[in-house]
Structures are given as C-alpha cells and as structure tokens.
C-alpha cells in the first residue's frame, strides 16, 4: 500500500514540474466554460425553461461535467508505450501488479488536475456565472461518492483500451473513437435531458449514464434519496464487468507479448 501511495505522490509531482502546462490547463477550461455559457445563453434565448430544465441548471451541469471529464483524462498509452519501447519486460518483473501501478499513476494525475486546473478555473469562472448549489450538504457527499464510482467506470474502460495494445500496435485510433463515444453519449457535450428520446433510452441501458449523468442527477436532487443506493449498485456493476473483461484480456495478452527492441 505504501508503494501505491508513493506512486501517486511521484505522479503528482511529475505533473507539477511543468508550470506553464498548469497555466495552460486553466485557460483551456476557462475557454470551454466561456463558450458553453454563451452558447447555452443563446440557445435559451431568454426562455426560462426548456424541457423542464432552467439555464442555471444547464450551466451547473456543464461546469461540473467539464470538471470531471477534465480530471479524468486517463493516459491510454501507458502499456503501448512500454510494449513499443520493449520496457514492458522490466515492468512485468516488478513486484507490484502493473494494473495497480497504472491506477496509482492515474490517481496522481487526477489529483493534480483537480487541484491545479479545475479548482482555480472554477473559482475564476464563478466570478462571472452563477451555479445552482447542491440540494443539501448530505447530497453533496453522496454526489462525491457517485463521482468516484464514475471515475472507476471510466478508468476500467480505459484499462480495456490499453489491453488492446497487446494485439494491435497503435491504440491511438481505438482510444480516440472511445473518447468520442463517451463524450457524446455520457452527456459531456450535450446534457442527457436534451437528447432525443430514442437516444435517452440507449443511454439508460448502457454504462454511459453511470459516468456523469447519475452523479449530476444526485447533485441536482433529481433522484430520490432511497433510489441512490440502487444507482450506486448499478455503477459498481459496470466497474466489475469492465474490470473482469480487462483482467481476462490482461491474462491472455501477457502470454503473447512480442517486445520490439528494448
């Protein structure tokens, strides 16, 4: 466990070395917040409610999903990098499970993005826009738990993408297409409320709902308290399913490593 935390710490520090990148990350988020606020304002065009959703709710939804999706940029190329370099052999020899190490590094990166990019950008943005507060303090705690589970889902999907690098040389295309699908269907670009009904139904039976939409619904108080437990179970189920697929691929893939150079 100590090693695990050591990896988190190093990864956090590694990110912190590039100061200008931190600054850039803040600008990136700010630009996206500005664009979306203005676009949604134009879309609402003075109307109070559209589909029963008010403008401040959309902005809140947007800022929070943007925050989460920004924090969650998982490096899909870790395994591929080591396979191409040939260093995967050394990585496999280490006494720590490679997947645990990836998790630790990712958590470090996420912490960095949360503290250094998201928090400052949100503070600046909050000077200009108003967001809706969570329904209650207790709900906020439930929301955080749900987000952590959402992170888990995204991470386990990324794990599967990474595992494909045992079979294909370049996972860039797989990773790009995965990101597009997740962004579109999970409500990161357009909130699930505004999707056509057919698509909403699709989203509700796929894992996409469980990434941003469930946490947001909890935050806004749109899910009754007694149903939140059920939502958690749903999220956990998806994590378990994806991790099982990932582990299966890991066991198969490990046996067919071809190192190139090294």
């Amino acid at each position: 466990m100590l090693v695990f935390f050591a990896y988190i710490k190093t990864s956090f520090k590694k990110n912190l070395t590039y100061r200008i990148n931190s600054f850039l990350g803040i600008i990136n988020i700010l630009v996206q917040i500005i664009i979306s606020c203005e676009i949604w304002k134009a879309l609402y065009a003075g109307e109070k409610m559209v589909n029963g959703i008010s403008y401040p709710v959309v902005v809140t939804n947007f800022i929070l999903t943007l925050g989460i999706s920004n924090i969650l940029t998982v490096d899909d190329f870790f395994i591929q990098y080591h396979i191409n370099k040939g260093t995967i052999a050394c990585e496999l020899l280490r006494p720590m499970d490679l997947r645990k190490r990836i998790l630790a590094e990712n958590i470090g990166g996420m912490l960095y993005k949360f503290l250094v990019n998201f928090i400052p950008a949100t503070i600046i943005a909050l000077c200009f826009v108003k967001i809706t507060l969570p329904a209650s303090g207790f709900r906020f705690v439930l929301f955080i738990i749900s987000i952590c589970l959402g992170v888990g889902i995204l991470w386990s999907i990324s794990l599967i993408v990474q595992m494909t690098s045992f079979w294909i040389i370049n996972v860039w295309s797989v990773s790009t297409i995965k990101n597009v699908i997740i962004n579109l269907l999970s409500g990161a670009v357009i909130p699930v409320w505004f999707m056509p009904h057919v698509l909403q139904k699709v989203v509700k039976v796929t894992p996409f709902e469980a990434i941003y939409y469930i946490p947001m619904q909890i935050y806004l108080g749109k899910i009754k308290l007694y149903r939140i437990g059920f939502c958690y179970v749903k999220q956990i189920c998806w994590i378990v399913i994806f991790c099982l697929i990932g582990s299966f691929m890991w066991e198969k893939g490990k046996k067919r490593i071809i190192t190139q150079g090294g």
């Binding site: 850039l24 600008i27 500005i34 203005e38 676009i39 559209v50 370049n170 790009t176 357009i190 056509p196």
Partner: protein
C-alpha cells in the same frame, strides 16, 4: 521552376509512402480523425434537435460554418505540417541541415512533411458536412458564388498558414511554443465553430483583429447564406477574406526572413 515542381513531387511521394507504411493503421487513424471531427457536428445536431436554432442559425447553416473551417484546415495541413512541428526541427537542430541546402528553408519545410491523416480525416469530414449543408440551404451556385467560395477557402488557408508561420518564427526566439499555439490557435478555433455574434465584444474583437478566424468561416458563410453578420461590422468584411490572407502572409513572411537571420542553433 520545373526543378521546383520535381522536388515537390519527390517530397510528396516519400511523405505519402512514409505515412501510409502501415495501411490498416493509416486507415484507422484517418477514420478516427474523421469520426472525432464529425462528432462536433453530431453534438450540434443533437443540441438543435431540442432547440431548433442558435441565434437564428439552423443546423444546415451551422454545418456550413463547420465545413469551411474543416475543409480549409484539411488543405492547410498538407502544406503546414512542417510548421506545426517546427518546434522539434529547431530543438533537434535539424534546421541547420535545412539552412545548408540550396533551396529556401520555407520551401523545404512545406514539402518535407504532411499530416495526411488529418488532411483526409478533417478534410473528409468537412466535405461531408458541406454536402449535407448545401442540400438544405438555398445557395444559388452561380458562377460568382463559386468563385467567391474558392477565394474564401484560399483566403482562409492563407490566414491560418500565417498564424502557423508566425508561431514557427517565435520558435526561433523562444524554442518552446507548444503552449502559445494551444492558446492562440486551438482554443480560439473552438470559438470559430459558432456564429461569433453569439459571443461578447472582447471575443469578437479577438476573432476579427488578433487571430482573424472570423474571416476564415464566419463572414464567408454569412455572405453565401444571406445572413446578417451583425450591425457592428461594415459591409466590406464579406469580401475581405483573401485580402486579409494575403496581407497576413506577406507580413509573416517578412518576419520569417528577419527571424531566420537571428537564428542561432540550439547546438544539439
């Protein structure tokens, strides 16, 4: 002149061979760029499914706006990949080699590398959107309008090329410019995906005067689709795209010549 064309084709052949070495991978990469860029359009389509229009722009008009941006980038990237990756040329000291050869440095940079995946992916996405957009808008394809469109695209390419060239010049002075491009090109480009009239005055000012993305797609689209660009802009803006492009090209080329004189190798 013939000599120049020969070199250009020889360069293009090698670069295509290098990029398409792994055929399946090349196909997948182009496809994923195509999907990534199209997803912007899909997002707008889904949004407008509920809202019908944004600031008076419907889905076809928005697609037209997108398509000009993507088509111009698709062509631009064939010529400007070397400038986009100029930072590594300076860092590795490869620029010294370019300087020693008996051809213009800019010529070599333009020829030596082209990001064909982005060209196919983004250009392809742009063309598909263009076809969808024009089917549902009442553009009269008169001779004048076709000529106007061609000049608008060429002007748009020239404007973006100048931005790339300017950032490449800065490389010579400060070596690390990845972040500058991220802020001044990629971030501002996100604004250009929407009718800029939606945004506040400061952003409009930046998109017209600082990094003139407005001329790349907004003003030409307004003109072709008979839309009001906004009362704050004089009527002349619709025709200025090629002019802005040429002026920027000349200015940045001048700066490029001056910068090269100041070049001192990184020594590695």
């Amino acid at each position: 002149m013939r000599d120049t064309i020969d070199i250009f084709t020889a360069y293009a052949k090698t670069s295509i061979k290098a990029w398409f070495q792994y055929r399946l991978d090349a196909f997948l990469k182009s496809l994923s760029v195509f999907i990534r860029e199209s997803s912007n359009a899909v997002a707008v389509y889904l949004t407008l499914y509920t809202f019908k229009s944004i600031h008076g722009w419907n889905i076809s008009e928005m697609l037209f706006l997108f398509s000009l941006l993507f088509i111009s980038y698709g062509i631009l990237v064939i010529f400007a990949t070397g400038l986009r990756e100029f930072e590594s040329v300076v860092k590795s000291g490869d620029l010294d080699r370019f300087l020693l050869r008996p051809r213009g440095v800019l010529f070599q940079i333009i020829c030596a590398n082209s990001d064909w995946f982005a060209a196919l992916g983004q250009g392809g996405a742009g063309i598909v959107m263009f076809i969808f957009a024009t089917r549902n808008t009442d553009i009269h394809w008169t001779f004048i309008n076709v000529i106007y469109l061609i000049f608008a695209v060429l002007g748009g390419i020239a404007i973006q090329f100048s931005v790339f060239l300017l950032i490449a010049c800065l490389n010579i002075y400060i070596v690390h410019t990845e972040n500058i491009r991220e802020i001044f090109y990629w971030n501002l480009r996100k604004f250009a995906c929407y009718p800029i009239n939606v945004f506040s005055g400061v952003i409009q000012f930046i998109l017209v005067f600082i990094v003139p993305f407005a001329f790349v797609n907004y003003f030409p689209t307004c003109h072709l689709l008979h839309k009001q660009a906004g009362s704050q802009f004089p009527a002349a803006v619709y025709y200025l795209t090629p002019v802005v492009g040429i002026i920027l090209l000349m200015l940045t080329y001048l700066f490029w010549r001056i910068s090269l004189k100041h070049y001192s190798s990184t020594g590695s």
